[in-house]
Amino acid sequence: MDVWALSAIAVGFLFYASALLAMGLVVVGAFLGPFPAQVQAATARQIAVCAVLALVLTALGFALRAAALTGDASGLTDPEMLMLLWQTPVGTELVLRVAGLALILIGLITGRGLDLIGAAILIAAFTQSGHVASSDWPGLRVVLGLHLAGIAFWIGVLPPLFRLAREEAYFEEAARVGHLFGQIAAVVVPLLLLAGLVMAWGLLGSLSALTSAYGLVLIGKLVLVSVLLGLGAANKLRFVPAMRRGERQAARHLVSSVRLEMFIAAAVLLVTAILTGGPSLPEPI
């Protein structure tokens, strides 16, 4: 794996983080908002920054992929390589990414509705290329879409919940958002896990494939996800109920827990970028 492939993975990771966060913040804002004005404004700023960053990373990722095809910097602007990518599902993915992110940005200015459509288009973009898109079972794309929607929702709640829980003035609001998220997550999280397992089975096809490079990285991802689940469970079963009983101390625990969740979620996305841009799926012998 050379510098171009590694750069593509790094850009892929940053894109996942910024795009999923932008999508998630939009969805969480629509379902759990509106938040207090200060948090609402900070959330809007974060959506804008993430969407613009994701747009830049989309262009950069496309050019880096072209460079990986030639193995040198000439590929960054090589018309033949760029056109080749444009004609494959990577081109469709590019169009959907730009359309989705643009709608999210326009929706920020014009009001809700367009940004949710943008988030949905962005999810469709994720299903255009990669291991899942080339699977023999087309239903896996739908499963991936559901998986991503669940992840975006989970990631999207973390920043506003963090902001609310660390401010004494927003204590009740933090308890409300934490409780409401916990109720929705009780349905969404099992579904996203199920979708993840269905995809893993659909791509790997057997338990023995877990010993391949792809399988080992996938196991690493599952370990990180189980830590996330533990933290999520602690939030839902301990800290948020304690906050609803008026225990102010619990807000500090929630802040620490959410901060850790954000770091581990970033690690999960890094491992996902490696999975999607790194090892090939194991071949049946």
Binding site: M1, D2, W4, A5, L6, A8, I9, R65, A68, L69, T70, G71, M81, L84, L85, T88, P89, V90, E93, Q128, S129, G130, H131, A133, S134, A213, V217, G220, L224, L260, F263, I264, A267, L270, V271, I274, G277, G278, P279, S280, E283
Partner: protein, 112 residues
């Protein structure tokens, strides 16, 4: 937190070992020792691929093999070789999978 960072670092370090390689076979095969330079290099892949660069290197000098006859996706590529010499040759190939994945790999052979 520290454990998470260490784990992420370990994954990053392990990444070079995870390079794509879907090549099924090649002629010459990796490690072959030949009496004379082959007139072509044949690459066979397990899945369809569009080759974008194949470089044949002997020591410090490298030559890009002609791909003008291979502008589409396929699984078998016969590439004429217009290079002579003796020593250890390395073939580096790059291409695009139909799913948009960039793939690469290399193998070597020796001409006595």
């Amino acid at each position: 937190m520290k454990q998470v960072l260490i784990a992420a670092l370990m994954v990053l370090i392990a990444m070079p070992a995870l390079a794509h390689s879907v090549i099924k076979q090649s002629a010459p095969a990796d490690g072959d020792v030949l009496a004379e330079m082959p007139s072509q290099v044949v690459l066979t892949f397990t899945k369809k691929i569009r080759l974008t660069r194949v470089e044949l290197t002997l020591g410090d000098s490298g030559t890009s093999l002609d791909l003008s006859e291979h502008k589409g996706f396929g699984t078998e590529f016969m590439l004429p070789v217009d290079v002579s010499g003796t020593g250890l040759f390395q073939v580096d190939w790059r291409g695009l999978g139909e799913d948009g994945h960039v793939m690469q790999g290399e193998f070597g052979f020796e001409v006595k």
